[in-house]
């Protein structure tokens, strides 16, 4: 595997706590961008983002249309928009139909990111009670990226990570507390 240039994360129910734990453990030395899809319905995320900003040295923000993907930044998909990665490593948004009953959909982020970043990406699927994300995670694996699934046994909601493990064998199945450490390892390798 080549150097990691992007980390993508998907989470659904129980996701706020999981993401918060994950982000708070990201080391200052890590110099990569993170893009996150969190299923949150039509609710606004500005309060959540400012809370998360206090927990990490990364800049946490809502992704903007046509924005360049920068290191040390955490991008959240805006509620009710799909988030996609473009060939020139910028972000595009879309109001397309829901995928897996979700907009934003984790599959949409994972697939489009895999096409562009190929083996320079790590995909992480966290807690959730639906089936979004597993196909996209497989697409990341197929393109040579690394895949991490939160341990379904300890996850708040096991369905989403468990579904991924039934579809293929992810590279790592680990507890939420250990994911940031694993990423740091993979990025240093």
């Amino acid at each position: 595997m080549k150097m990691t240039k992007l980390v993508v994360v998907g989470a659904s129910s129980g996701g706020i706590e999981a993401i918060s734990k994950f982000l708070s453990k990201l080391p200052v030395s890590l110099n990569i961008p993170v893009i996150i899809v969190l299923h949150i319905g039509n609710n606004k995320i500005s309060t959540l983002l400012s809370q998360l900003n206090n927990k990490t040295s990364f800049l946490v923000k809502e992704a903007e249309e046509k924005e360049t993907i920068n290191p040390k930044t955490v991008y959240f998909a805006p509620p009710n928009y799909h988030i996609q990665v473009e060939e020139n490593r910028t972000i595009s948004l879309s109001t397309d139909a829901k995928v897996n009953f979700s907009r934003p959909s984790i599959d949409v982020l994972f697939e489009t990111a895999a096409w562009v970043y190929k083996d320079e990406i790590i995909g992480i699927l966290l807690t959730g009670s639906n089936n979004d994300g597993s196909k996209g995670l497989l697409e990341i694996k197929k393109h040579g990226g690394k895949t991490i699934v939160e341990n379904p046994k300890t996850a708040f909601s096991k369905t989403m990570p468990y579904t991924a493990t039934t579809l293929f064998e992810p590279d790592y199945i680990i507890n939420i507390e250990d994911i940031a450490v694993k990423i740091t390892e993979l990025c240093i390798e």
Binding site: E64, E65, P78, Q84, T95, D96, A97
Partner: protein, 286 residues
């Protein structure tokens, strides 16, 4: 670096054959049918095209290109695949609320109002706008041109008949947007569908228009184009914004989707911001 070193440094694994296929397909569609998708966002196009490959049992974009060129019926389906047809009534109620507060009072000073709703899809937002104009007693003196590239969604828009599946969401959106009555005041319900009142569409002309290749067709006081520009690259965004700017009368309004913006485009200086968050702009007086 010598030429030889350049060749050696080239890694064939990085060479994305699918991107070549995609470029060729878009060029073929433009040459054969005159529809130019070359400046649409590629991630969006790829997702739609891969879906079509799967559904039709095709192995590659090149195979699809062959079918698109030789099979007109297949091309028609392909065109539907690429068009943007997800919409809802009073989408982003906060926007409509702001429109009521910040645009309507200006429009009231005009004897006649002309509106261009570009990329109207199946028309849900056209009827939303018509309802607001009716509640503000402006609909009588307004002419709305509602256009889209896709003739089949325009037919739906013209009929004003929608499934009642989403009507609960629409009713909630309507109230959240500052609606003065009930959404049900404007439609009749029958056989699981709702039919919007014909008085709403009396002054609406639905027409086929391609933002990429067609030009200005009227001078209007308001351009309404929400969640269309996000599907375009920067070049095409600027081209379409030029079209809007040329279509707008002095001090005309431009309403974009809430995640779209004039920031970083060639037209940032040509407009004043009326509502920064809701993306309502007014053409400057130059």
């Amino acid at each position: 670096m010598s030429n030889n070193e350049n060749i050696l440094a080239f890694n064939p694994e990085n060479f994305d054959t699918q991107n070549i296929e995609l470029d060729l397909l878009l060029q073929a569609v433009n040459l054969k049918y005159g529809y130019d998708f070359r400046n649409y966002n590629k991630a969006h196009l790829k997702r739609r095209i891969y879906q079509r490959l799967k559904l039709s049992g095709l192995n590659s974009i090149s195979e699809l290109q062959n079918k698109v060129l030789w099979d007109k019926e297949f091309y028609r389906i392909f065109l539907q695949d690429l068009s943007i047809n997800v919409t809802e009534m009073f989408r982003d109620p906060d926007f409509y609320m702001s429109f009521r507060k910040k645009v309507i009072s200006d429009l009231k000073t005009y004897a006649h109002i002309k509106v261009w709703h570009a990329g109207c899809s199946s028309g849900e937002e056209v009827y939303s706008l018509a309802i607001i104009l009716k509640e503000e007693n402006l609909l009588q003196r307004t002419q709305i041109y509602a256009t889209d590239i896709n003739k089949s969604v325009l037919e739906t828009a013209r009929q004003g008949i929608y499934s009642n599946k989403e009507i609960e969401l629409y009713s909630r959106n309507y109230l959240d947007s500052g609606g003065k009555g009930q959404l049900s005041d404007y439609y009749t319900s029958k056989y699981g569908a709702v039919l919007f009142d014909k008085s709403l569409s009396k002054n609406i002309v639905f027409a086929d228009h391609n933002l990429v290749t067609d030009g200005v067709f009227a001078e209007v006081n308001l351009v309404f184009c929400r969640n269309v520009l996000i599907y375009f690259d920067k070049f095409l965004q600027n081209k379409v914004l030029k079209l809007f700017s040329e279509s707008l009368s002095k001090r005309g309004f431009l309403c974009l989707g809430t995640k779209e913006s004039l920031k970083f485009t060639n037209f940032e200086d040509g407009f004043t911001v009326i509502d920064k968050k809701m993306k309502i702009y007014k053409k400057s007086q130059i």
